[in-house]
Symmetry: C2
Subunit: 452 residues, 2 copies
């Protein structure tokens, strides 16, 4: 396929993707296939001779689509939202076209520098403390990881190295293996399984901290297990707090946990993979209070901020903690550039010291496209979804239909529809009817709203 054919086929593919996304609602969200459906549909081996684009293209609907779970269907409520937007798709096309592998500054300066600046933009949008930003001469900074699992793992590994070095200075009689055997990491019993997995990979113990009645970890629960473990000779070194747990979106109490971690020399990592995007709205930002005590923080724009997978944003206060943990610099990856006194020195620009893989794509392009083409306001609207106006319109349509009757209230700035069980004769059938009626009106309203 030459460039001329790519122009033709690329445009067909753009239309195919637009059609797919425009009409996705009509596809069954979860496929009917049984495990193993695909193998009998395609040959046993790669073809010896080239096939045409048409051959391949027609197999997308025939072979692939029948086995796709449609994550962008409005009927998909499983797992977590996978972000998708047209600006991000365009940026990913460009990323593929440029096709650079930006592991170091020299490997493609724009790839590294745009990432640093985009993470500063994003950090400012959620009002992260200055210490987490790279700025022009900061000690911190951000990086795009492939997934929150990688962010947790890399934090745990950095904490492990830092703690081993510290303990070896304090107790030179201990070997590295002795110390490793005593290290303990902690996370809520509600934390994502990837935290336990990070500890398994890192070869260290991990313990659950019990969450309270609201499924949040509070300071006293952490304190209790730390005291027990220290008394038995273990070395607590890492705590992963969760903001927005997977089962029920509960929030650990950072303001209680942070000071304990700081006092005990425990690295606090915050995993806000799912909920973190909400912090761009001032009314949700209070849930992030306490981040100032953390060493590292992560959330996934690829979940809820309209940036296609993969784009997991991670920040650290001291980037030398990451880059110092696994720095290996073979000659073929070195690039000699004058060291300068500001942020821009050679080492900071080796993003591969910040992550597990060596290679990396130009993922900051999609952040750049999305942040610019939606603007902060547009993204806030996406998080908020509804609005006071929408709620007022819903109440109006409910009360005009006169099948049920409600009155509203204000909870601070939010317009709320109050549903009170009033009459002595109310039974569950009445409530079910009311709920169906409200749902129907809300659905109709949202449809009209979107068409406008």
């Amino acid at each position: 396929m030459d460039a001329a054919e790519f122009r033709k086929r690329g445009k067909e593919m753009v239309d195919y993707i637009a059609d797919y996304l425009e009409k996705i609602e009509k596809r069954q969200v979860f496929p009917d296939v049984e495990p193993g459906y695909l193998r009998p549909l395609i040959p046993d081996c790669a073809p010896q001779d080239p096939e045409s684009f048409e051959d391949v293209f027609k197999d997308i609907e025939k072979i692939i689509m029948p086995g796709v779970t449609h994550w962008h269907s409005p009927y998909f409520f499983a797992y977590f939202p996978a972000a998708s937007s047209f600006p991000a798709l365009l940026a990913d096309m460009l990323c593929g076209g440029i096709g650079c592998v930006g592991f170091s500054w020299a490997a493609s300066p724009a790839c590294t520098e745009l990432e640093t600046v985009m993470l500063d933009w994003l950090g400012k949008m959620i009002n992260l403390p200055e210490e987490f930003l790279a700025g022009k001469d900061g000690q911190g900074g951000g990086v795009i990881q492939g997934s929150a699992s990688e962010a947790t793992l890399i934090s745990l590994l950095a904490a492990r190295t830092k703690t081993i070095r510290r303990v070896q200075l304090e107790k030179p009689e201990l070997t590295e293996a002795d110390i490793m055997g005593r290290l303990v990491a902690y996370a809520s019993d509600q934390a994502h399984s990837s935290v336990e997995r990070a500890a398994l990979i890192g070869g260290v113990k991990i313990k659950n901290v019990s969450s309270d009645d609201t499924f949040s970890v509070c300071g006293s629960a952490l304190k209790k297990v730390l005291d027990e473990d220290k008394a038995s000779g273990l070395i607590p070194f890492f705590f992963c707090a969760t903001l927005g747990t997977t089962p029920c979106c509960s929030f650990d109490k950072l303001l209680e946990l942070g000071p304990i971690c700081n006092k005990e020399n425990i690295w606090m990592h915050i995993d806000a993979a799912y909920a973190g995007s909400a912090f761009i709205c001032p009314e949700f930002r209070h849930l992030l209070n306490g981040v100032e005590f953390a060493d590292s923080f992560n959330f996934n724009p690829h979940k809820w901020l309209l940036v296609n997978f993969d784009c997991s944003a991670m920040w650290v206060k001291k980037r030398s903690d990451l880059t110092g943990a696994f720095k290996l610099e073979p000659l073929y990856l070195q690039h000699h550039h004058q060291e300068s006194g500001n942020f821009i020195n050679k080492l900071d620009y080796y993003y591969f010291h910040w992550q597990i893989p060596l290679g990396r794509r130009f993922r900051s392009l999609k952040l750049w496209f999305v942040l610019r083409m939606y603007g902060v306001t547009g993204l806030q609207e996406h998080i908020r979804k509804g609005s006071n106006e929408l709620n007022k319109a819903l109440l109006k349509s409910i009360n005009e239909a006169k099948k049920i009757h409600l009155v509203p209230c204000h909870l601070r700035e939010t317009f709320v529809l109050r549903f009170a069980i009033c009459s002595r004769t109310v039974e569950s059938t009445h409530i079910k009817f009311a709920w169906q009626h409200i749902s129907q009106l809300a659905t109709a309203l949202l449809k009209t709203w979107e068409e406008l």
Copy 2:
């Protein structure tokens, strides 16, 4: 941006990418910018209000391109080849459009199943032993990792778990920390830095094995260090052989090393990241002999097989070694499907047990597009680049120009141009002139050839 605008902008982006790649030769391969060039060119914060696509689009040439190292320029000879082809770009567009996160079978059956079958296709193309293939009821199988570093790390971690379990059975008096402290991994002194890094992450020792005069590790070198280490109480558990080292593309001697590893219960992983694509040509396949002794094998189609980054192909003989090492199955990731007797059982389809991150993109699409649209023959031609016919035509044009004179020979099936220093009066200027002359004719010939 709605679907209608995406159709328009997507097509503009297709043309931009086609233009970029068609005229890439005219761009300076390495940029002129100094570190920190980008930050002053863009605002300090994300815009509050949306910007138009035009605004963003015009900044690609203004802000991004001046800082790009052009990996697909024909003048780019640094690091390693980053594969790029139009079919792969089209497949990546589709991958973005579908936008599924295929960590398990249920999360998108097509995503998991196409990957399994594509890795079988690719395995057959390089004539991997049957044990590495998933087939319908095999114990092995393939997976796409993001990079060779991840393949090495995941192998080392699987080997670590397997060895700890074995040693704990043999010597129940040892704790896990005791065993960890005695584990040693090995790799050539020519191996990629990512192997040392994998050991650092895994918290185990790693030692270099000396390579010989051809920069290859032979059996006796490994044997020597193993004997020493076992005598001092260490537990050798992992050896990473390299086929095609980064500095000079040397090959470790698998046929000597494999039997030693098998005898000593050492997991042998083969890292053929760069050179592995060549094994699709029968004349290079002998370099892979000995793979039958390995536990895992990896090469990067994203380097030399026209599949855009990232696509690192990895196979294991016993996939339960990977899936068993870090299996954690929270309820929200389980999908209840009838277990069947064949390959298709629930567990095998949890590809996230095979890798470090949880999420994964639909990367097998680009393998599918490329393998079909080039065919095995087309890909073999890409590896071979030149041909006997081309060499014959070059000799003809050299001898017709009559500035220098050469005769050819055959080395087995290959037509070779012989350049002998013959006359007593030859000086280095004559040789330089001859080389320039040959280069000019070769360049002209290749240009004509490509135009045909």
